[in-house]
Symmetry: C3
Subunit: 675 residues, 3 copies
């Protein structure tokens, strides 16, 4: 992304969702908002997402003036607008007149009006109505100098099982498989004799019908993503047809797996997401690492700076407990987004709504309305910091490590029935690998099976159950050419329609890893085993580590064994192995290991591979990331501990451009150096 594309000026965005339509009868409040925005260093607002009922109060009667006027006023004060399209929440009249726009649930019952993101993505009428309003918005505001970016809809998600979608799904399948025989073969429908005689017999998965054909389930989810992407593309087309050439984004949700976000690559110009970590439930550094994983995932979608589109300046109101963020967390979390590649810190919401379901969500300006609140003061601090860091805008990250995190794999893994229906540690394993690498200060791309591996030195591959997109060949080539692959248990089990590989797994990679899986043991809740180091293993692993949930049994052909099981009937069988293949190394982890294992193991791998860290000594709980421009390299160091830590910066060649350090870094504070 050329940063110029989304900004007429070079600076980090600060601001967030703004709903002036809720206050049109209170001009004093709108005026007060503007004053407060300026005090807080806010330079960007997002508007329009929930304004359809006001923009088109009756079918065909459009009123855009009020919005144009606010965009004008803001622009005059130097505040830019991200313009939302209103498809996420249609007006009441639209649902009443055209019931086909209402979703049908998996039990085949049509919804009533309510909520949001609950329209049928297929409905021709809905697509037409969205198109019309988008064209009009593009015409009226799409070339306004105050408009920075187009924000399609809001948090796309969910599915619809209406007859229109069923029909579309059948067409999509016909396109994919051509003949019903091929579909039957790929879907393994001879099982229980569920063979289809024609495409017309196919229905989407339903708890009232078919749920156990995993390939059907997988393809339905693929179709839902495809149809949603198509809907988004139509929205974008309307924007372009209305004459607007601004870049386009849509806000993704953290850790949402209802859609495969990768497939939006062709539609969006900028990736953006809504970050709502549950601070203080776990230790702060752990929450920071989990949030970092999501940031890196979003940055890796387009491999250029993304936008933090929403975040709470205080508590949320929809989590179980509306926990206040302790002082300093807002600043640290905001800077962390930038450290991982965001060019913005945007909040939901600028002014708290008076009524309805989000009235207790944190906001920059609360119901009280004064500026003498803790939250407002902290937001001002963030604004001030971002103002000082303009040179970071547009800088990028160039990781040497990648972690494969694949949404289609996730779908298949959890749907596959066994080896643990009581819980599959996919996310946990990915996060443990991520955290183990993250603490070394090594940046990572979070990629999927469609990405290339060739630019990385190390690729982490947690629980890659489903193999698709030629990933087997890619891994083979990657290792052969000198890369280091670290793959875990329960990888390479099934193909892209969830049919198991025959003749030995991990699928077609038994020679690369030098072993073959024979069995996998599910452990009951509370059960544990452990891995013990093999004497004089070349990674010098020396500790004992516990494992849980799943323990694989493998038959080693060529691999070297680094650790073995402590007990059970598979005592002394391998837990950790390494195979030299071509110029590279293929590590295999047989069991669901504890975090400490990944910390020690990945550090040993990094040393063995001689990959340099940005700082030699990184204390626990400190995140070190790197952003680069053509001119300079920035190293961002954040202490997520409550207390100070010792910190030694490079002796020469670096300039501290933000923060203070005299051999130590205070709790929740940051320092940025330029090299």
């Amino acid at each position: 992304m050329n940063k110029k594309i989304i900004m007429s000026q070079e600076r980090l965005l600060h601001g967030g969702d703004y709903n002036p339509e809720q206050w049109l009868d209170s001009p004093d409040i709108l005026k007060r908002d503007l004053e407060l925005f300026l005090k807080a260093g806010i330079n960007t607002v997002t508007m329009g997402m929930f304004s359809w009922a006001l923009l088109e109060p009756e079918e065909g009667r459009y009123q855009i003036d009020w919005l144009t006027e606010i965009v004008d006023q803001l622009y005059q004060k130097g505040i830019y607008t991200i313009l939302g399209t209103p498809s996420g929440a249609r007006p009441q009249w639209l649902a009443k007149r055209y019931p086909e726009v209402l979703r049908v649930d998996e039990k085949r019952q049509r919804n009533l009006f309510g909520g949001r993101q609950n329209h049928c993505y297929t409905s021709p009428v809905y697509r037409q109505k969205v198109r019309k309003i988008n064209v009009i918005l593009a015409k009226e505001l799409g070339s306004h100098p105050g408009v920075l970016l187009i924000h399609l809809s809001n948090e796309y998600g969910g599915d619809c099982h209406c007859p229109l979608c069923q029909e579309k799904f059948r067409g999509w399948l016909k396109e994919r498989y051509d003949t019903i025989e091929e579909l039957n073969r790929r879907w393994s429908t001879t099982f229980w004799g569920h063979t289809y005689q024609s495409f017309e017999q196919i229905e989407s998965p339903s708890s009232k019908g078919e749920l156990l054909l995993h390939a059907l389930n997988l393809d339905w989810k693929r179709f839902v993503t495809a149809q949603t992407v198509d809907f988004a593309a139509q929205e974008k087309k309307a924007i372009r047809d209305g004459g607007c050439q601004k870049p386009v984004t849509t806000n993704f949700m953290g850790d949402y797996d209802g859609l495969n976000y990768r497939k939006f690559k062709g539609v969006i110009d900028v990736a953006s997401w809504d970050s709502y970590p549950e601070w203080h439930r776990k230790p702060v550094p752990q929450t920071a690492a989990e949030t970092a994983f999501q940031h890196d995932f979003m940055r890796s979608l387009l491999k250029k700076p993304f936008l933090l589109m929403e975040s709470s300046p205080s508590s949320t109101n929809w989590q179980e407990v509306s926990k206040l963020r302790k002082p300093g967390i807002l600043h640290a979390a905001s800077l962390q987004a930038v450290a991982h590649g965001s060019d913005s810190v945007l909040y939901f919401q600028l002014r708290q709504s008076r009524g309805a379901s989000e009235k207790f969500h944190g906001a920059v300006i609360d119901h009280y309305g004064g500026e003498d609140t803790r939250v407002f003061q902290e937001v001002c601090q963030v604004g001030e910091t971002l103002g000082r860091l303009s040179e970071l805008a547009g800088t990028v990250q160039k990781p040497k490590v990648a972690l494969i995190w694949d949404t289609e794999n996730r779908w298949a893994l959890f749907d596959s029935q066994g080896p643990r229906n009581a819980g599959i540690p996919y996310k946990e394993t990915a996060e443990k690998m991520y955290a183990g690498m993250r603490r070394l200060g090594l940046d990572m791309d979070i990629i999927d099976m469609e990405d290339d591996l060739e630019n990385y030195r190390i690729v982490l591959i947690p629980m890659l159950y489903l193999f698709r997109g030629g990933i087997g060949d890619k891994i083979r080539e990657f290792v052969k050419n000198g890369g280091t692959a670290v793959m875990t248990f329960w990888s390479g089990v099934a193909d892209d329609t969830d049919r198991c590989f025959l003749g030995g797994v991990p699928g077609k990679l038994t020679d690369v890893f030098g072993l073959r899986r024979t069995e996998i043991d599910g452990l009951y809740e509370g059960e544990e085993n452990a891995a013990l180091p093999v004497k004089d293993n070349f990674l010098s692993l020396e500790r004992r580590y516990t494992c849980r949930n799943l323990c694989e049994l493998v038959n080693v052909s060529d691999a070297r064994v680094l650790m073995t099981y402590e007990k059970d009937f598979y005592k002394d069988l391998p837990v950790v192995t390494c195979n030299q293949y071509g110029k590279g190394k293929a590590y295999y982890i047989c069991a669901d290991m504890e975090q400490q294992f990944y910390n020690d193991f990945l550090e040993a791998v990094q040393k063995n591979d001689k990959i340099e860290k940005p700082l030699p000594d990184i204390p626990d709980g400190v995140e070190v990331t790197t952003r680069e421009s053509e001119e300079a390299t920035y190293v961002l160091i954040q202490n997520f501990n409550a207390d100070s830590v010792n910190l030694k910066l490079p002796d020469h060649g670096c300039e501290v451009i933000y923060g203070e350090t005299e051999g130590s870094l205070k709790g929740l504070s940051s320092v940025i150096i330029k090299i």
Copy 2:
């Protein structure tokens, strides 16, 4: 209530629900019942509630004779009848012929026949059929000297989402808001653009549609109450039109919040309720205090004696565990009802049914049928005690303390999304305040926001989130004129359509309490903070108390700080404050404190306010209540401990009219003195 209205004689009622229709083919059993009733001192039975199928076995064919005959027979033996109207359970033929009487659930699916209280309250046909049978019952039995009281239906409750109800709801809203613009404004429908263009678009809340417009949810519950009250009023009108002038009641359920029982004030002449505490799950004194709260709530509805309409003489059968009541509990619980203002002890059920869903519910006469059962003997004891306490009938309570417990507030509080979706301690806070005051022997009215405050010395205000009915002004006036208000965290947040107050809260009372709420922190499960006393605080609070769930942060303007937080980033901020306002005092409790705090704090407040206790020393677990007539004052003292406690009665001027005490009171026993 003039006690003459409900009784032709001055005595406490003893008896309960009786279903002779189940035994019409066993005359020997009916005869045996009568003998046993007389042995047990039973003077009242409730009949007819579930007899519709027998009273009108075919549409339009009425047979009332069998019931009249039983009323006659009982009356001849001195046993009075409470006559139930049968609307709670219609005959099969009615549902089959007129499906509109069957409820539609919130997912818009119509029920089949089954259960009870499952009719549409709006259905014209149902109202007409109920009217007809009520008129006939009134004509046949409404003037019978043996009929004491009319008992409308049975445990009204639930809602119906059928088209008839939807239409009625829209009319009700139109009446309330006049224009759709006003409704939109009051409901904050600009949020998510859910603005209504006309009343016709409005649908009741549904998990298939709209659930997040809190004002819609609130108004729907108000409408359900209004429609149910209207249904009850129609029932009463039919009774009057049939020529019956007997007083009317309907049996309420303990702690039921599906209806706002306050709104029945205009329909019922006597309040009555069904009490089913779960004895022995918690310590007996705690269960007693929680039950006392419900008794006081019911008495406060009409502020005159109420009826304990149902209670179990033994275990229930519908709770998780059918726990037997240990010896003495039945007597203590029965007398407790009287101690809190009941003029009756009535049971469900007199004779256990042979089949169907309540056959294992405790009964005075069980399947065995003999009188040599523990339960029957205990019932006889209760009968004997009640017989000796006739002079209590009609006496009243005149509390100096009130606690505001408001059903509409409860609805809004739990629906509001945040600050703790994992649990809002409304009931717990109210019960802790109640128990803290109750142990001082001070009687309390449990009132709501529509009540006057002026007759009280102290008003307790737990979590009054929603302000309506001018409660802000009432509290201000109350304190200004010398009253003591004790209000907790999360009060005064929103108005009567759940719109937040702007400009500082608690809503319009920041000067009265001398502070302003700034933030509220939700605590995770297991998290705790504590309140520490400020040195030399004027209430002499000296202990440390833990708090959980919710901790408010306030900005004190004028209030004195009595206690402060022990830790977290709000360490040293106020937890307990007191503001002198006018002639009174306004206490504010910022956090969800433990029971011991309320015990010590309320005792300090009572002493500070110089409010006299009925007895100087009241041991833990002993309840002291007071009932008065124009001639005398009765102090009832009940020991809910298993063991004896020391008890010192006033030295002079008092006569022991029930029970024994020589300086001590045995476990589960009572003493009543007359002053």
Copy 3:
């Protein structure tokens, strides 16, 4: 069962479910299967259950050849076929063309196509289509010498609430009760005035309608069983009409209570079931005892050898955790089936399917496909063992002890509302009694109330809430004639339409047991009481045993008291009693006692009754069972402990025909002696 009926040769069956239709396009795989079957000693496969879509790919076009060919090929190698009828999973075209075959759920919503066992049992179209294919299969394969047995459908279960079923249900009720008045009387419909005016008003139980008429619920379940049995009978008739005279079975599920399996006695020639114990969750000996209970239940259905129709050679994939079976378990579990009367060890599945929902279920041949797997080797071992035990085929058990385990009682008990809705320990009590007796090496029949008692010495009667089929009289006669009855709390409460007995319980047996129940106390979770021995009781019980969940209070008339309660208000009341009645003894257990009680108590009863054990000393965790032919008696001894135990065989007159023992028996190993 004459073993000749199901086998043309005298041997134990070894093999399992085989789905060649999944591999028809891979002839090499089918060929490889055959080789591996022979290596593993497999002599039997089950086929056809899920082949309908292949057998009749279009309506009326049948293709049976492929199956015939495989049956031929297998037979040529000495492998027999159990031929399944395909009614359990219809083709897609059938559901699309005849929607009436799709089940309607209890909320009255019709299913879509999907899953299995989801057809309407009443649908005339479905019955006709099933008949046609069954006739054809019978004609084509029913006389094939390689076909051993006909296997009707697969795991019959579930219910359907469609209009056709409703109509059938009403007819079934009319047959049963003749008049609506009689139904009303028996169903206690005067309760809540739910009296029916005609049979046409009756609807099946529904959460949208009637759920609280327990007699309706009971009769619905009876009807579902009756209709399913009728469906199975129609299937069998089609087989016979097609000219096949082979014996018929259907595979039952372990511990399934959706159907009363007893009622299939008239349809099946051989009982068979699918055994999937969750090994290693509890201690192995306990899982073994629980599995043994199910084996004995299945054997007792026809009181002759049964078939273990399915079992997993490894883990399952549908339980919470796919736990591997540790080495030796497969062999021990397989032999245990034989020890309890099975003439087979059959697995699901022989070859693992590549796709769909059971692809990770354990199989003899897995996706890898080699014979060098742990599982395949263990299967070979089982095959070898079974080959050596041919003489056991057809031998029977002749227990002296019976335990009454009645499905209709189970339905009523759990539906009855009270005394513990939080959990009724029916299964637990039955299993504790069973395990207490089992450890003495005494074989047991698991019978129901329709069985005769006269051939037993001891009858165990856990929680026989509902009395039907003259069980009261049977127990009376049994004891009078010298039998020993051991009955527990909550027995004899209600009649066969769940109406409580009046005038004293256990129903009509108060004189036999010499006591009368007065009350029953539900204990909360965590609550306990205990039984203390009465000094010098004639059974010499000496220990203290805890009890939980339910404690009954009884009034003893004639019985001797052996143990009494330790505490609560019923301290010193009886817990265990014995009454001499006629020539026999009637023991009564008032409370839910711990396992150790049943161990000690039943051993004392056995000694007191002088019933001989097959071995004098049986260590804990060792199962001893006996199978007999006209020529010989076989005692099977299995050690379910991980470690060796001491084992002393009879000094003379016995021949060890399997296993090794020199005074001890190794962990998980077995020895079989012939006397």
